[in-house]
């Protein structure tokens, strides 16, 4: 760790002490922020994990029903039937501030009613497949929202921890070292001054005696 290079005088000493105080205060604030972020983060993990497990299971089940529909109708007929939909505006995005981390919140609009395909050429099981997919779709979006929040919080926690560590293990020890160094230099100068004065006094006294 490179030491701070400063002039050993009282002015610098005062400046350094002030910097030390600011660093200490910053360290405390950041540490509190880190604790709070961590709390927020850990609270979200369990729920997200559970939601993912559920959503994955339901999605795989829906794929299974689609495979049956594909088998019954034939690949081409199914592709034609499913080509009917058009992309819609499904989301309303809002922004929420959690410990100065901006995380998105999605509000899901009503999903359009699947349809528009010929009921004559498609099997009944396609309706079931689309229903099950429509059932899982809003939760897919919720999952995306939760995982994004976790991702953003994780990034912020990493950044904050770096800052806390830099203050705690680099800047504050450096300042302490510099403050101690200046204190010692000043004491040394004080002592040398004192000895010089004593010596001068001795010489003057010796001259007076002669």
């Amino acid at each position: 760790m490179p030491a701070l290079r400063v002039n050993p005088n009282r002015m610098e000493l005062m400046k350094l002490r002030r910097r030390r105080q600011v660093a200490q205060r910053g360290h405390k604030l950041l540490k509190d922020k880190l604790d709070e972020l961590m709390k927020e983060f850990l609270a979200r993990i369990g729920a997200s994990r559970r939601l993912r497990a559920e959503v994955e299971a339901e999605l795989l089940a829906a794929y299974g029903v689609f495979a049956i529909a594909r088998g019954e109708a034939g690949r081409a007929a199914l592709a034609t039937a499913l080509a009917s939909g058009t992309p819609a505006d499904l989301l309303e995005v809002r922004e929420r501030n959690v410990m100065s981390v901006r995380i998105p919140e999605f509000e899901v609009a009503e999903l359009p009613d699947p349809g528009g395909y010929s009921l004559v050429t498609t099997p009944l099981v396609l309706d079931t497949a689309l229903d099950s997919l429509a059932g899982v779709a809003p939760r897919l979006i919720e999952l995306a929202e939760r995982e994004k929040a976790i991702e953003l919080l994780a990034a912020e926690i990493e950044r904050t921890r770096r800052r806390v560590n830099a203050l705690e293990h680099v800047l504050i020890p450096q300042l302490d070292e510099a403050i101690r160094g200046i204190g010692m230099k000043l004491e040394e100068a004080e002592r040398s001054n004192l000895t010089r004065l004593m010596k001068v006094k001795e010489i003057i006294e010796a001259q007076g005696e002669r």
């Binding site: 994990r49 939909g85 989301l91 995005v93 922004e95 995306a144 921890r161």
Partner: protein, 112 residues
Amino acid sequence: MLPRASRVAVVGESTSVAGFRPLGFSVFAVEAPTLAREAWSELVGGEYGVVLVTEGVYRHIEDLVVARADEMVPAITVIPGAGSTGGVGQARLDAAIERALGTKAFIREEDG
């Protein structure tokens, strides 16, 4: 100002994602996973708030997804594709936990 980001995109093999089209999702059916790379700039351009990527495609565009980790939208999430084993999304969650805690902490199921 927030981008509108009002749409939901699904990127994946056509057998997995075709069913999302009637639900109003924007479907990017890519026959070769590398084609997702070409559609990427459109996907992250601000029109989409949520991008769902199947595992098969995610494997080929992981670097692109990771590069967007610090952006608020789109929220990119991995979903299992038809016939894939799952677990990639869980692994991403674990990676985020590792990033935050600095260690692969063992977090019990009942937590949270």
